[in-house]
């Protein structure tokens, strides 16, 4: 138990947040310098904060990591979806899932567009069925998609989208910066349950030579549309699908 004059965690939190006046700050600093127990406690709180901040650095990251806990208010959609076992059960599902990377990727047509060294693909989980998404695929809210990327050279990779409402989202990776990926075929580790935003959604896979932050790019995409992607000077692949209301495919 702490001594009477030891600051509580509440006081130390206020001190850390710089919410105390100068006099109280000085008193706490003086106390911490002379009280070993509080020094240890304060250091422990700092270590905890560092660990916790690293675990989920943003609320969006936490929101994505807690499937089933989200509400409509968050409008975020990503969650883990173990697609690999399903892939094994579906014979001949997809060639691109298993073949090695080519030096240059041929440009698909229609809703899929490639600009050379990066090719973005996706699979759809509809009920118990898993199949590769095609160009201008019609999807429904509640269905799951998982992206894959074939990249011909190592770089920093991210997947961003602009949905039918004009809301920009980072599909991949979690965290603050683009993921460093080697050349090859990659099944991206996160899947997404599609939300209720209807309309055409465009999804960009971006491969850059340099590391880049995701939040500024997402914000620019939301504000300026695809010009933000085009202006980044990276290798880009674009695909799109149409999200209709439930029952539209029946």
């Amino acid at each position: 138990m702490k001594a009477e004059d030891c600051p509580s965690d509440f006081q130390l939190d206020r001190y850390t947040l710089d919410e105390l006046d100068e006099k109280k700050c000085e008193a706490i600093e003086l106390h911490l310098a002379g009280c070993e127990a509080c020094g240890v406690r304060f250091a422990s709180m700092a270590r905890s904060a560092e660990h916790l901040n690293q675990t989920y650095p943003t609320f969006s990251a936490l929101d994505r990591a807690l499937p089933g806990k989200r509400t409509r208010a968050t409008r975020l959609r990503t969650r883990f979806w173990p697609i690999a076992p399903l892939l094994g059960a579906v014979a001949g599902l997809s060639l691109w899932w298993t073949v090695g990377p080519g030096p240059e990727v041929a440009a698909p047509q229609g809703g899929l567009r490639s600009k050379g060294t990066v090719n973005l693909s996706y699979h759809i989980k509809r009920g118990n069925r898993v199949f590769e998404g095609g160009r201008d695929e019609s999807l429904m809210p509640g269905e799951a998609v998982q992206f894959g990327a074939r990249i011909a050279r190592a770089g920093y990779f991210a997947v961003l989208s602009l949905d039918g409402r004009g809301e920009a989202t980072v599909y991949y990776p979690l965290g603050t910066h683009a993921a460093s990926l080697p050349a090859g075929d990659h099944t991206l580790p996160l899947s997404t349950i599609l939300d209720e935003a209807l309309g055409t959604e465009r999804v960009w896979g971006m491969l850059c030579d340099q590391p880049f932050e995701l939040a500024p790019l997402r914000d620019a995409l939301q504000e300026h549309g695809e010009d933000a992607i085009e202006g980044a000077g990276c290798q880009v692949d674009l695909l799109s699908f149409h999200k209709g209301a439930s029952g539209a495919l029946e």
């Binding site: 138990m1 509440f10 006081q11 206020r14 422990s44 905890s48 904060a49 609320f59 936490l62 807690l66």
Partner: protein, 161 residues
């Protein structure tokens, strides 16, 4: 909506680790603690009015976290998982041992709400009367009464055991 999200991200960046640390000590599980953090911050987005009139965001988040975690400890579905779970070694700081925390959690689940809240602030956060009064909104006198009642409860527990 975008502006609210930005404010939420700002609040999370500033206070998220504090909420997580307290929830982890209260619930004894980092997984459950993150669910608590999620709940508390999401409620800010969904019901921003609940923060109005509060002296500070920190005070509000202390109370909201305590309230949510106590509900979790009382909840039949989550209680056994939390009470039987081991405390998070990374987030204990040596003042209360994991066994002490486990006993405290079991007691909290059984106490009336007002007493449970005061017990959290007094034992877990080791707050002064003034600080407890500030976070709960109770007057100092009521805090004193509740602490006295809490002491009686704890004495009864000790006598029974």
């Amino acid at each position: 909506m975008a502006e609210q999200r930005q404010e939420l991200e700002w609040a999370y960046k500033k206070y998220g680790a504090i909420v997580a640390r307290r929830a982890c000590r209260l619930l004894g599980s980092e997984e459950a603690a993150w669910e608590a953090v999620h709940h508390v911050f999401l409620s800010l987005l969904e019901r921003p009015a609940q923060f109005e009139g509060r002296s500070s965001m920190l005070t509000f988040l202390y109370e909201a976290t305590t309230h949510h975690c106590l509900n979790q400890l009382r909840n039949q579905k989550t209680r056994s998982r939390l009470l039987l779970g081991r405390g998070s070694a990374q987030l204990t700081d040596g003042r209360l041992l994991p066994d002490d925390l486990s006993v405290l959690r079991q007691r909290l689940a059984q106490l009336p709400d007002e007493l449970a809240q005061v017990a959290v602030y007094f034992h877990l956060d080791q707050m002064s009367y003034d600080e407890i009064a500030e976070v709960t909104g109770y007057c100092r006198r009521k805090v004193g009464q509740l602490l006295s009642l809490l002491r009686e409860h704890e004495q009864e527990d000790r006598n029974e055991s």
